[in-house]
Symmetry: C2
Subunit: 319 residues, 2 copies
């Protein structure tokens, strides 16, 4: 075993720490989706998680692991998405100050979310360089600790607690699928399966448009995307040097899906399960529908990663 | 007690009969909505019910109560909405043939729903007279039994089973709210509260645009609507002579809400709870938000009646 990979004890400690601060999200099933796939599917609903996504788990754990000194100086992150809201709420719950750098063009609904949870927003220009520059400045000025949304071991361990609950509540899973963007959820899930249910495969679903993780597993080094043209706004990022070795060692496969396949899968979840998931969450079901033959007859776990979507701008409108 | 009102035994028998054929739907809560209202709200999720709405309960019970002879001739109803799908699925589960009269302009998604569940569709002209004519013809030709979606005692008793479960699972409710359209759910809920938790008030939420039930309670006779211009497509109908006496005797109040208030409440449920409910389901929350002062500090039960909504035509798009 690669020695950059955390131990079962690390994961157990994380689970114990995180549990009081997050919802134990329900597992839902749908007879119609089972019939459609020819398998039994179990959906772990992180869209019902606090702040609307699994990101709450990693944020809680990462802040808890700081020293008292670090906590007193606060945390800083840059994100236009779910991690910004998660860090804001997690920090509030733990009595820590949160500085959030958001691009000036971030959706109003996300800005409002961060404000609701008490995060202090600094706006940057809408590009990565400016976001990083602002975050650096805040770090220097305040002594706040920078939290990376996916390439941080404590964040990865926190994200793994969803799969621990999943395995505890549904012991017969042959495979668990998650979406893959920055790689935190996929790496955490792979760790949980490795230590808690080692016969369970772990598969990532990735948009073909930003299939850096798929290419990284092929080439053996971290690959990047030339653009971020996917509806799955949570998956536009690339892997990092902390989660990549875990994914390389413990993930079985990554399946790529088209934008149309993502929208179709999202529509099925909305219409059949009557729950709201964001496009990123639909990527694993899209992968299952694409590779039905492979998944036939299996007990399939799917982590529905989040439900933060702007309901005034949905991809179904042009039907 | 008015002797047209069923007994507790009737309700108990219904509950026993219906249970094996329906989902015991979950009760969800939302911290943010509690804060918004200043009360504890409990949402009984009939949007997760089979066929996507509480209507399944009444359909199952009504078909079960037919004689063997009646069952062999099938059932017929006319509906463009949830009752059509519910009767189709209930009949299929009970091995009974279902004839469904739908207006020729019914939404494709509803037609597909009925087909999926095996109902035999006959299209009528898009008006009530033509729908009734077609249903009569089918009754005569096949001997099928006509099932009214709300003004049928077995249907009303079936709808009451949602509130029985609600009271069993959440024993501290001060009040339960349901939407009111044809009156089946409201009457059934009032019966359940009367016999299972008599200190719990029952309140109906109704669109101001089609407030026939509100006016009926005032005038003491069944009133009708001059038009059906409400987004709450499940609530466009009026009360009937079987449910009206029950509602008169056992319902405390009906609160009317505007179209804007319905859309606002629906958006809150979608965004905060991450679940899909149809506009009719949002009417009770709209009523609570309108009369916050009255509801302050109470333990409030809300029956979310259904989740069958055309996601390509949502009222949020013009935000």
């Amino acid at each position: 075993m690669n020695n950059s990979i955390p131990t079962k004890k690390d994961l157990e400690g994380t689970h114990k720490r995180v549990q009081p601060f997050v919802h134990r999200t329900p597992i839902l099933t749908s007879r119609l989706i089972n019939e459609l796939v020819g398998s039994l599917l179990f959906f772990k609903c992180e869209n019902f998680q606090k702040a609307g996504a699994f990101k709450m788990r990693g944020a809680i754990n990462a802040i808890q692991q700081l020293t008292a000194d670090q906590k007193s100086n606060g945390v800083v992150t840059h994100s236009s998405g779910n991690f910004a809201q998660a860090v804001s709420l997690a920090a509030k719950q733990l009595g820590v100050k949160a500085y959030i750098v958001m691009p000036s063009n971030a959706p109003k609904v996300k800005i409002e979310g961060v404000k609701t949870y008490g995060g202090e927003i600094t706006f940057s220009e809408p590009n990565l360089a400016s976001r990083e520059r602002e975050a650096n400045r805040i770090q220097k000025e305040t002594g706040a600790t920078f939290l990376h949304p996916s390439n941080n071991l404590d964040v990865i361990l926190g994200q793994g607690t969803s799969a621990i609950e999943f395995i505890e509540d549904q012991s017969n899973l042959d495979v668990i699928l998650t979406p893959v963007g920055g790689g935190g959820l996929l790496a955490g899930t792979a760790l949980a399966c490795h230590y808690y249910h080692s016969t369970c495969k772990v598969i990532g679903g990735e948009p073909l448009q930003v299939n850096d993780a798929f290419r990284s597993l092929k080439s053996g080094k971290i690959e990047y995307n030339e653009h971020s043209n996917t509806i799955a706004d949570g998956l536009r990022t690339h892997l990092g040097d902390i989660n990549f070795p875990i994914i390389t060692e413990l993930v079985d496969e990554i399946i790529c899906v088209s934008e149309e396949e993502i929208i179709t899968a999202m529509k099925i979840i909305w219409e059949r399960m009557k729950i709201i998931v964001e496009p990123s969450s639909a990527v694993p079901l899209a992968a299952i529908l694409k590779e039905k033959k492979y998944f036939k007859g299996k007990n399939i776990g799917v982590i529905l990663s989040g439900g933060n979507v702007d309901i005034s701008k949905l991809p179904f409108n042009k039907d």
